[in-house]
Symmetry: C2
Subunit: 404 residues, 2 copies
């Protein structure tokens, strides 16, 4: 008998028909002799509808009250899913975040899980029940309801799997698993049977919207075996786990991220502390920076270029312009028509020529590279957004990823 944690997102339980589809996956797992703990998100657009309700009251709701409001979304879906499971003839019980023992930090809207008190969960499992837990929520030390922020249900599921020492944590999505690249861009894309935590982390942060990064980090930390699979098609998904046999692996996937924009801070005095000022101002606003390049500017100055997420671009420019009396840049320019294309693979660093092979593919297709960044397991390039899809296909082809 295995203990399986299964997580279903909001679109998987958007209406009664889908709730039953999910309930059947759960009861099949249970009837096969497993203990099952389910984590579920709010139905379809429920969270957006609740946010809309708050907006009708005030532009700036207190974060505490917002969490009180949003937590109802998951409470609705756990009760409905428990009813559906019972209707299919299996015993079930729903638990809110606080009933399931989720203790979090006090930060409303983006709380961190401190600890899960699994006592109640274990009691219900011992009664042979399928336990349906509200994702995305917990309780802070003031006994107030908190939420973990968007994508938090993945984190809830992995944290539960870790706390219960579950055999596997299955994340059900609307895709069949993790592909070598986006199949909508590149029809040759192939589903990977397994992938390492680090590779998954890079792919997730590079635009593959399959798994929330925080949940992968947590899975890596607690060595939780993750499985990404579809709630619609009953096919084997992709397993995310610690992969020892790194030598054999090369490039595993190609990712494209359109949510990126470049900023250039031009002609800054070449003094220690200027770079620190720029990035600490951005960090203070929680704006992540990527692909940093420093080059020589005119007359002994420096040009400092980097990328930020497109949806934080305006905020980043505001921060930099406001701080420019300290920074002293001649001008601050930006470009919002770029994409980041990356290759990811754990064995990459020990294999010379991977990056150059990528550049070759781009060169052969007349695609201009503006910025480059590498890590141990990835190479990213910044290119014109108009070239992005062509670049993905070219690189995918060059590395023969369709014939793995």
């Amino acid at each position: 008998m295995s203990l399986v944690v299964q997580k279903f997102g909001g679109s998987s339980v958007a209406n009664a028909e889908r709730v039953f589809n999910v309930a059947r996956i759960i009861t099949d797992t249970y009837k096969a002799g497993n203990q099952v703990v389910v984590v579920v998100s709010a139905q379809g657009d429920t969270t957006d509808d609740l946010i809309e309700k708050a907006k009708e009251i005030t532009d700036r709701p207190s974060k505490r009250e917002m969490d009180m409001l949003l937590a109802t979304g998951e409470q609705i879906s756990i009760s409905l899913l428990a009813m559906a499971i019972e209707k299919l003839g299996c015993p079930a019980i729903s638990l809110t975040g606080w009933q399931a023992g989720f203790n979090t930090s006090s930060q409303y809207g983006m709380a961190r899980i401190h600890k899960i008190n699994t006592e109640r969960l274990k009691i219900e499992l011992d009664k042979n029940k399928i336990v349906v837990v509200a994702g995305f929520q917990g309780l802070n030390k003031h006994d107030d309801i908190t939420t973990l922020g968007r994508g938090g249900s993945d984190t809830s599921a992995v944290a539960l799997a870790a706390a219960l020492s579950a055999d596997v944590c299955e994340i059900y999505t609307d895709v069949d698993g993790v592909y070598t690249t986006d199949p909508r861009i590149c029809p040759d894309a192939v589903k990977l049977n397994d992938i390492s935590y680090d590779e998954m982390l890079e792919l997730a942060s590079l635009g593959a919207n399959v798994l929330n990064n925080r949940s992968v980090e947590m899975a890596k930390k607690y060595n939780v075996k993750l499985k990404v699979l579809s709630s619609l098609h009953r096919v084997e998904g992709t397993t995310v786990k610690e992969v020892k046999d790194v030598e054999k692996m090369m490039v595993r996937g190609v990712a494209r991220d359109n949510n990126t924009a470049s900023i250039a801070v031009m002609e800054v005095d070449d003094q220690p502390g200027k770079v620190y000022t720029i990035f600490s101002k951005l960090a203070a606003k929680d704006i992540n920076v990527d692909l940093i390049i420093q080059s020589e500017g005119r007359e002994g100055t420096r040009d400092i270029s980097f990328t930020v997420a497109s949806d934080r671009l305006q905020e980043a420019l505001d921060v930099l312009n406001a701080a420019n009396d300290v920074i002293g840049a001649k001008k601050i320019i930006f470009d919002d028509t770029v994409s980041k294309v990356s290759i990811v693979g754990a064995g990459m660093v020990s294999n010379a020529g991977v990056a150059s092979k990528m550049f070759e593919a781009l060169f052969q297709n007349n695609i201009n590279v503006r910025m480059i960044a590498t890590s141990e397991i990835k190479v990213s390039v910044l290119i014109d957004r108009a070239d992005a899809e062509r670049a993905v296909v070219a690189i995918h082809d060059k590395f023969d990823l369709g014939r793995i």
Copy 2:
């Protein structure tokens, strides 16, 4: 400084505009120097919408899961109302039933309040906050969410007022207070400034849908001063309290109840135990019986007639027919075209002639009386439903209630 508990029903907070209307009543009370605890129901049709969602899943949802589902309705309204109060510039915090310390019995869907642990509430009041509490819900000994049943928010408010020794418990409704009779039927109806708990109880159970009976019983038990007033018009309402000066009082109000039907169990053997069998079978199904009359039937048998609520009629008939091998009635007949009209007044019992004055009014208007029942503070008659409104006006007029 007074401590005021204010309760608002679902229609009072049905949309953003109404939420702000309620928030203004609350903040005005707070700014006048009072401590304020608010109890609120689910918005408008939310509860019905949630029931509909459950119905799409199953005809017979578990009661535990149903309570888990329904409790979200009040959780939504408390958070929105707290946001609106804050928007108006006063400090507020929302608390769910369990956060507010409501300990209840385990019966899902119709839990009883055992105890309110007011610790958290007092902490928030000491911080000068307006505390907005979810009505209708609590937590049982299993740490599971329970609901108190429809109308439960009134009970929540009165229980809170009792636990906090509040100076007054204000119940806001869509009427201005308690009237001598329904103003829609009788334009002469007059609003009462005060009324005793017992009179209110009789009026409530006789069809005046102003206050939930359970909450009035609780208010009487713990001597909580209740006030019934309108959330739309800022006028003095009706105070419900212990009235000592009973001698002066006579008939206080006339009530009509259309939710009533009569059943006659005909020609039952005149044996001890028959009556017991009939009513114990109905009691086992929680079907309340009113206006019981036993008369002689044919050949030494008895006819037993009584009324039940119309919406329980079919169930009552099913119970009786199923048990008729024990009861042995020749036939069981019913009439669903009747109304109960009642006069209520605490001083009634000591005043001979009150009942006969009522009958006189009916006689003068050619209204036939089918059944009669009296208690210390009321006289009820069963008449044709078609005559009910005429009867109310005639009785109201006879007792000069419009000129109090």
